[in-house]
């Protein structure tokens, strides 16, 4: 790192990357909040979304916004199908059984995807003009700005959905106390499906943005950002929606700074190190409360 400008430049990169992590982390956190499941397949749903966006743009020649919407809708449906077939029957099983199933679904999407679309990388089409803005030596790409804005709008939308709509209230009630919610007449099945749908749609949006950000996609692309988004969710306190947003941004910025310091081969290790430190020092995350089993 040589100067303040470079530092700020890394911060800008980190913000874009972080907003993508945040979008994925939201799905993890929402699902965990309600069914207490680490949905390992979530990163792969993001991959599915990225491919859907890619198809929409290259095959259907959709512009950016319809393409991202298309990806979100398909992923939402995929999310519901996954929940209904693989997770729902295990709702009362041990958490370990559910976690193993999630690993299975994850592998299925990755390698099933490979069978369908092939293992090779695909170049993501350039949907944005290459315009750049130079503000005080810091470069903002047009695409980065659109990405950041998209991510922010989606997060705001989610916030309003969760806070003010009927389904959002049902989600909050279920995540607070599933049995009580059931007694109060909340349709828990619908609520859980809705949670998976919304989480998957956000992941798909993240997938499209990720594809644009890194220019290429492949069937295994979801693994690393998936794990990192999980780190973000844990960092913010799993189950807590604003926590996931903050966690994602913090992680993205940290990674950019580590790369900026010339240690990019260690970048992934840093994310996992953060994960382990958080888990050991404060497993409930930055915004969480500690809970203990009653004897």
């Amino acid at each position: 790192m040589h100067s303040i400008t470079e530092l700020l430049q890394q911060l800008v990169y980190g913000l874009s990357l972080g907003s993508i992590y945040a979008l994925i982390a939201l799905g993890y956190t929402m699902v965990y909040g309600i069914v207490k499941l680490i949905n390992f397949a979530h990163g792969d749903v993001m991959m599915v979304g990225a491919y859907m966006g890619w198809i929409a743009i290259t095959v259907f020649h959709f512009p950016f916004f319809p393409a991202i919407l298309f990806a979100m809708i398909v992923a939402a449906i995929a999310g519901i199908i996954i929940e209904r077939t693989a997770y729902k029957p295990l709702r009362n099983a041990t958490r370990i059984a559910a976690l193993i199933t999630a690993i299975g679904v994850s592998l299925f999407l990755e390698y099933g995807g490979m069978l369908v679309v092939g293992a090779q990388m695909r170049t993501y089409p350039n949907v944005f003009p290459e315009t750049m803005y130079n503000i005080g030596g810091i470069i903002f790409k047009f695409g980065d700005i659109v990405m950041l804005v998209t991510a922010l709008v989606l997060m705001l939308l989610l916030h309003f959905t969760v806070q003010y709509t009927k389904i959002g209230k049902a989600m909050r009630a279920s995540s607070f106390d599933m049995e009580a919610a059931l007694l109060m007449g909340v349709n828990v099945n619908t609520t859980i499906s809705a949670t998976f749908a919304i989480g998957s749609a956000l992941a798909a949006a993240a997938g499209v943005l990720y594809g644009i950000y890194f220019n290429s996609i492949d069937p295994l692309m979801g693994i690393t950002p998936g794990l990192k988004a999980f780190v973000a969710a844990v960092l913010g306190g799993i189950g807590i929606i604003p926590g996931a947003m903050v966690g994602g941004l913090v992680l993205g910025i940290t990674e950019s700074l580590v790369s900026g310091f010339g240690a990019s081969t260690w970048r992934d290790a840093v994310a996992f190190l953060i994960l382990i430190l958080v888990l050991i020092i404060k497993p409930s995350g930055l915004f969480g409360k500690n809970l203990r089993e009653k004897v």
Binding site: A97, L107, A119, F230, I276
Partner: protein
């Protein structure tokens, strides 16, 4: 009172069967009847049997949830490789160093992380496994991301007997008051603690012992495979080991052996079509959890007890 001794009919019979198994396979190898691919598969079976049995000690017997076992395998593989290649050490030493360094790593890592429960522990161990991989990618002494040339220093006989010894050690540990202490942690941690079991100690002990054998297995692997690379030990390998244990039945040692056998053979048979292989693995995992979450064996063991006269039965 029952006579409990090492010299009983069951142990004698088990030993006999093991020797027969060894002799038959060794005969086939010496006479060149068995193609080299099969020998290689058999050695992989040995490696994965040890890995599965040692992960079962952590996940099945002690009830913890580690999904970063490949990290310890990597440590064992690399350090055993170094002993073999850079120091021209004997194989025995190579495997021992691999195991011990992995065990030390397991101890250091286990001490703080084993306070975590269930899925939190799972994700922490997953992260640790990935960190190990990244560390090897970044250290030139170990060949960095390109990998390390090890050569071949082990044959079937060594692999087989090291596997047998590992299994005996794990079995003897599990079937003792110390093994019962581990099981009590799995069954009810609060009650175990109230009955005077130092649960932290036994969690860390099981984790360390499990890491040791994962290291030994890694040592066998690197001493056989000519060449190792950090990505060989990524989380897919960890998942693979996990699948074996779950397939066999968490808590069942014979189940783990069975799971390792089935999965390794399946993996070799389908190695020409890697994607399909993984899809099959995935479906197997999901279907297993949906329809038989306790695995093939549950927590039961396959044993030769039924061959014994009543009243002479060993206390498991």
């Amino acid at each position: 009172m029952k006579r409990v001794s090492i010299l009983n009919r069951k142990n004698a019979l088990t030993l006999f069967l093991v020797i027969v198994m060894y002799a038959v396979i060794q005969g086939l190898i010496v006479t060149d009847i068995l193609p080299p691919l099969y020998t290689s598969t058999l050695i992989q079976v040995c490696v994965y049997v040890i890995l599965a049995a040692s992960l079962n000690l952590i996940n099945g017997i002690t009830g913890q949830f580690s999904i970063g076992h490949a990290g310890f395998m990597a440590i064992g593989a690399y350090l055993a490789g170094i002993v073999s290649v850079k120091f021209h050490g004997p194989l025995f030493l190579s495997l021992l160093v691999g195991g011990i360094v992995a065990a030390v790593a397991g101890f250091i890592v286990g001490l703080p992380t084993l306070r975590l429960r269930g899925d939190y522990l799972a994700i922490a161990t997953l992260g640790l496994g990935q960190i190990v991989m990244i560390i090897f990618q970044n250290i030139d002494y170990f060949g960095g991301a390109a990998g390390m040339q090890v050569g071949r220093h082990i044959n079937w006989s060594w692999a087989f007997w090291v596997t047998i010894i590992s299994l005996v050690v794990i079995h003897n540990f599990v079937n003792s008051t110390h093994g019962r202490a581990c099981i009590s942690v799995r069954e009810n941690e609060i009650a175990a603690e109230a009955m005077g079991v130092n649960t932290t100690k036994y969690k860390v002990l099981a984790f360390t012992l499990g890491a040791f054998f994962a290291g030994v297995a890694g040592g066998i692997y690197s001493n056989y495979m000519y060449f190792i690379q950090p990505t060989t030990f990524n989380f897919l390998t960890s998942f693979n080991i996990l699948v074996m244990v779950v397939l066999g039945g968490l808590g069942s040692m014979t189940g783990s052996i069975l799971g390792a056998l089935i999965m390794t053979v399946l993996n070799v048979a389908l190695s020409g079509i890697p994607s399909l292989r993984m899809v099959i693995t995935a479906l197997l995992l999901i279907i297993m959890m949906l329809f038989r979450p306790s695995g093939l064996m549950g927590t039961k063991e396959f044993n030769l007890n039924f061959l014994e006269k009543k009243g002479e039965r060993n206390v498991a």
